[in-house]
């Protein structure tokens, strides 16, 4: 699939010498959801703000739908919708007028059915005549999304869409993102919630210290770097791992009632059959077994701490 957004060697240095982006290159395909994962201060917002025109890059190039964001800024920006991290809204304006304003600002002619459709999809239609300041935090965030969608962008940036949002609303937001994707919008979202990236992204990019550490298909990333743990629960606790099982490099749980075996799912032989046979041979009685796949969080922590060391 063709890249709708192409970032090449993008750098941003501030006057004090601080380098917020250190040569970021990234291609984003049309119709995908890319999650940019990174700790606070990694450069996620700087990257988004630069692509959207809020920050002027020091060097490098960004093309949106083939249009350069500097030389051809009108065509490039017309394709982009931005949902900022902070809830930045004119408090005294009515919801619907705020959304209409955004459409007009992007030079699009009036389209009331579209505005109605957007507000209904985001469950804001009933609140259309309310002043923005009367809304709850979650509703305000939806207004930001409605404003970003008002000019029918092909690329939508969501900067930490669920920061400070409760669990239920977060799930709602994920549904909204999925619907947008289904309607053909390319979505780039930043988050430091790994479960968010895991739940909705097609690809995951990890950014730390102004650099992209990796960009991978989410499932590939999980499969490539993922390890699994087998937990063997025993009917009676043991004080130490029996010496006959020493070759397996097992961990004993704190209570002594479980043996934990870490293995690679991609390995030719996982060694599970042999382990279970040897556990029985050592005279231990199994109460239960469970397996656990390492999460993106484990991968992420591994990558970021590896970068720092």
């Amino acid at each position: 699939m063709a890249a709708i957004l192409s970032i090449s060697d993008l750098r941003k240095s501030y006057e004090g010498g601080f380098e917020a982006l250190k040569g970021v290159s990234l291609d984003i395909d049309e119709g995908e959801i890319l999650a940019l994962l990174g700790p606070n201060g990694a450069g996620k917002t700087t990257l988004i703000s630069t692509v959207c025109g809020i920050i002027t890059p020091t060097s490098g190039s960004v093309k949106v739908g083939g249009h350069c964001i500097i030389d051809d800024f009108r065509a490039a920006r017309a394709l982009i919708g931005l949902v900022p991290q902070e809830i930045n809204l004119e408090p005294f304006e009515k919801v619907i007028n705020s959304v209409r304003f955004s459409r007009g600002l992007f030079g699009k002619p009036k389209n009331e059915p579209l505005i109605e459709d957007i507000l209904k999809k985001l469950s804001l239609w009933d609140k259309r005549n309310a002043q923005v300041k009367e809304l709850s935090g979650g509703m305000k965030r939806r207004v930001l999304i409605a404003k970003a969608l008002a000019h029918e962008p092909r690329v939508l940036f969501l900067d930490e869409p669920t920061a400070g949002v409760d669990v239920e609303l977060r799930k709602d937001m994920w549904d909204v993102v999925q619907e947008l994707k289904d309607s053909g919008v390319t979505i780039i979202l930043t988050t430091h919630y790994i479960e968010e990236a895991e739940a909705i992204a097609d690809r995951v990019g990890v950014i730390a210290d102004g650099q992209i550490l990796l960009v991978k298909d989410k499932d590939d990333l999980m499969a490539q770097l993922g390890q699994k743990q087998l937990c063997v629960y025993l009917t009676a606790p043991v004080s130490e791992v029996p010496s006959s099982l020493a070759t397996y490099d097992l961990e004993l749980s704190e209570a002594g009632d479980a043996l934990i075996y870490t293995y690679d799912t991609k390995a030719e032989r996982t060694g599970i059959t042999a382990l279970l046979n040897d556990v029985a041979a050592a005279g231990l009685v199994l109460a239960d077994v469970s397996t656990r796949q390492s999460s993106l969080e484990d991968i992420f922590v591994g990558l970021v701490s590896g970068e720092k060391s």
């Binding site: 809020i54 002027t56 009108r74 931005l82 930045n88 004119e90 007009g104 600002l105």
Partner: protein, 253 residues
């Protein structure tokens, strides 16, 4: 040109004005009435005429200018400072609009508000004094140009200001003294000779003088000079704004 964007900004800004229409309307009516009571009736009764014009009528152009200048500045500076303050400026910066379109939207709205207030003051003054306008077209031209140029200045102040105090600083410390000393309530021919020379460095003198000419046909400085002064002032403000958007000073990092 993205005319739809200009119109959207203009309407959004005007909506703020209409939300507080009553205050917007009442405050100039009240302050004008107060000026007429104090200067027109109480003090003005002891001053016969200035340049052959009744004092009550003489102060009308200055009074309109005083309000129009301060309103243009405060409307425009607040108009652009508020999005900066609450963060909604992100939308302007990421929209497919250039500096001229943003300026036209904000400055146009601020100038319209000031024009409205100027008109209200003019209408209120007719309740107190008899006024005839010698050159109505020139009067409208001077009024519109003053609204626009001072709204441009206000726009610059709004971008420059880092807090609400700074927003008030320039109007309070520079503009109000210049307007008061610019002949709003007197003819500069009433000043001692040395001050008549010094006052010519005050740009507001030319605006008030030109505006007063459009009412009474008499002025402190030639009308052409007044028009030139307002033209230079407008061009200067536009130049500064062009530079602000080119460099992103205080708006784009």
């Amino acid at each position: 040109m993205n005319w739809t964007a200009i119109w959207s900004i203009y309407r959004f800004e005007m909506a703020r004005f209409f939300r507080t229409l009553f205050q917007s309307f009442l405050s100039p009516v009240l302050s004008t009435s107060l000026y007429f009571v104090v200067f027109g009736a109480a003090i003005g009764s002891r001053i016969d005429q200035v340049d052959g014009i009744a004092y009550g009528a003489f102060i009308v152009p200055g009074l309109i200018m005083l309000s129009v200048m301060t309103q243009s500045i405060s409307n425009a500076s607040f108009g652009i400072y508020f999005p900066k303050f609450i963060g909604t400026i992100y939308e302007l910066l990421s929209a497919p609009v250039n500096f001229l379109e943003i300026v036209l939207g904000y400055v146009g709205a601020a100038a319209t508000k000031a024009l409205f207030i100027g008109t209200v003051i003019l209408a209120t003054s007719t309740l107190f004094v008899d006024i005839t306008i010698a050159h109505p077209l020139a009067m409208v031209l001077f009024l519109v140009l003053t609204c626009l140029s001072f709204a441009l200045l206000g726009f610059i102040i709004g971008i420059w200001a880092k807090n609400f105090e700074q927003l008030q600083l320039v109007p309070l410390l520079i503009v109000t003294p210049l307007v008061f000393l610019g002949g709003s309530f007197y003819s500069i021919s009433m000043l001692p000779p040395i001050w008549q020379k010094i006052t010519l460095f005050n740009p507001v003198v030319y605006l008030i003088s030109g505006f007063r000419w459009s009412f009474f046909g008499a002025s402190d400085v030639p009308v052409g000079t007044s028009l030139l002064a307002i033209g230079v002032f407008t061009a200067l403000c536009l130049g500064v704004i062009w530079w602000i958007f080119k460099t992103g000073w205080r708006i784009r990092s």
